[in-house]
Amino acid sequence: MSINLKLFGDLRIKAEPNVSGTLPLRLKIDDSEIMWVADILRKFKIEDSEVSHIFVNGRYAGFKKRVKPGDTVSLFPRNMGLLYKWYFKREEDE
């Protein structure tokens, strides 16, 4: 089973430089070395500062959130951050 990744807005070009339209880019990741949200960012050369909101299975999460096959990870770019960062604490496992 894969990890389901959804990249929103400008983050989509990190995985698909010629992406068009506005729908989120959906990818499946099969990589046994990916254990944390931070590993996904590294895989796509995304800096922490380029990300605003992270959701793992719809839960507001941080870089240190564990991920496993079957999870859905959604990443929003810095210029799409609104509301969550100011209200809620990111769920993290470490």
């Binding site: 506005t22 605003s52 507001y60 810095r78 951050g81 509301l83 100011w86 209200y87």
Partner: protein, 567 residues
Amino acid sequence: MNNLEAKFEDLPSDYAALGGRGMTSTIVAKEVPPTCNPLGIHNKIVFAPGIVTGTAAPSSGRLSVGGKSPLTGGIKEANAGTPFAQMLARMRIGAIIVEGKHQGDDYYLLKVTMDGGEFIKANKWSGKGLYGVYKDLSKEFGSKVGICGVGIAAELLGAMSGVCFNDPEGLPSRYAGRGGLGAVMASKGLKFIIVDETGAPGVEIADQEVFKVGIKKLRDALTTHDVTKPGGALNSYGTAVLVNIINEAGGLPQRNFSAGRDERAEKVSGEAKAEEIKKRGGTRPHYCNPGCIIQCSEIWVKPGNKDPVGVLEYESVWALGPNSGIYNLDDIGELNRACNDLGCDTIEAGDTIAVAMEGGLVNFGDGKGALKLMDEIRKKTPTGKILANGTEITGKVLGVTRIPTVKGQGLPAYDPRAIKGIGVTFATTPMGADHTAGYAIAPEILGVGGTLDPMDPKKAEVSRNLQLATAAVDATGYCLFIAFAVLDIPEGLEGVVESLNGVLGTNLTVNDVAPIGKSIIDIELEFNKKAGFTSLHDRLPEMFLEEKLPPHNTVFDVSDSDLDSVF
């Protein structure tokens, strides 16, 4: 309105430091009997610009409208950003109070200039859509006037009717929408207020130096923060940037609050809308009033840059879109146009349409059918009269048991089962279900502890402090969205307080923000108590307690005692 008289009165000294919501709620509480019929002779409708409105302070063109709400039966404040607000403030008008009730069937327009107020018969504009009427008014009174008006929904005395202000292009798209205040205005025989600021002296500023230092700090914060700066979230995508965020969080209500996520919502996201506006030649970004740095507004148009609508806000897109099972921006745009044209609050209209869909009037997802429902209001049919009275009445008439309201007001675009703190605010605010009653002021700034897990039901303290801070911001005239910047940049918050001190000649500090908010909320709670409200009204409907919301399959499990501990 009894005798069509308008006069200027000096502001009482104890009102001198009030503005916006502080002014409207104080006047309503003092002058309106809490048990009066909201559409009767004893209710009043009050218009008040904020403390810094009309000055050079950035993003400060807000105006509060207050009265007793025909939708909730309690006190109401709704606010809007509009040039009308700035003009009123520059004329040094602290508030317009409309009282009494004109006997007979005539409608009037009140024209306000530096020389006074004049009533003009406005029957020729009744029964007509506001897009055409606002064009006529601009032709007749000049393109530089500020326009306030109510539409056909208000003529029906419908509790979903809002008070509509012009945007800088003259479009009828800036609404103090919630609570049916449009019906209050129409009930008095007043259809429009035109403000002509020719010769206005400008806002009196007690200490220019303090004021200038303050607004520079705030401007610096707004222009550097990721949410508020040019190219930031609000500027790039508008408030609808939240569609995809809340959908991912599982809190974007779909089909009358039956689910919290649907992939089809991605088709009506802020990104999709911004892209479409660009393709069509509409305008984005755009400001709702001159001097706004954030510029979250826009002008949505039909293909070919035709028939401008104005802004499609997040809550409007949600209400007229996913909550009605509609995932098509053109349908949403036309429904928003219908709301603006008829003078309807988009949130209440969307909730009403969704309940009507559940009741079988049209099917979920039927955008054209939803437009036909709005036409029932336009034609003033019996069905239209029911719909114009909002979610709760429509649901009851149609035998719908899943009616998402608190104190009679339809819930906005955040499902309280997935985001429980806002559910506490929906339940407990004196306004009825209102997201803006406790929005966007950071818990940290108020010294609130706790885990702040969105699923954690322990939210009473957070909600209380958010509501107090929001009430204070609503009094200033600043847009609530400045909060994101001033949270992260302490100098920005200092700047806000210094700008208030500059205008008022006071020595307020950051620590005074919450007490100012508390004094406003206390006034509002007292009014509602006298109007018959008890803690039993501070509850969400049973559907949120009993039905699990996919995808998280959670219910709203905040205890009654926690809700009661908010105030």
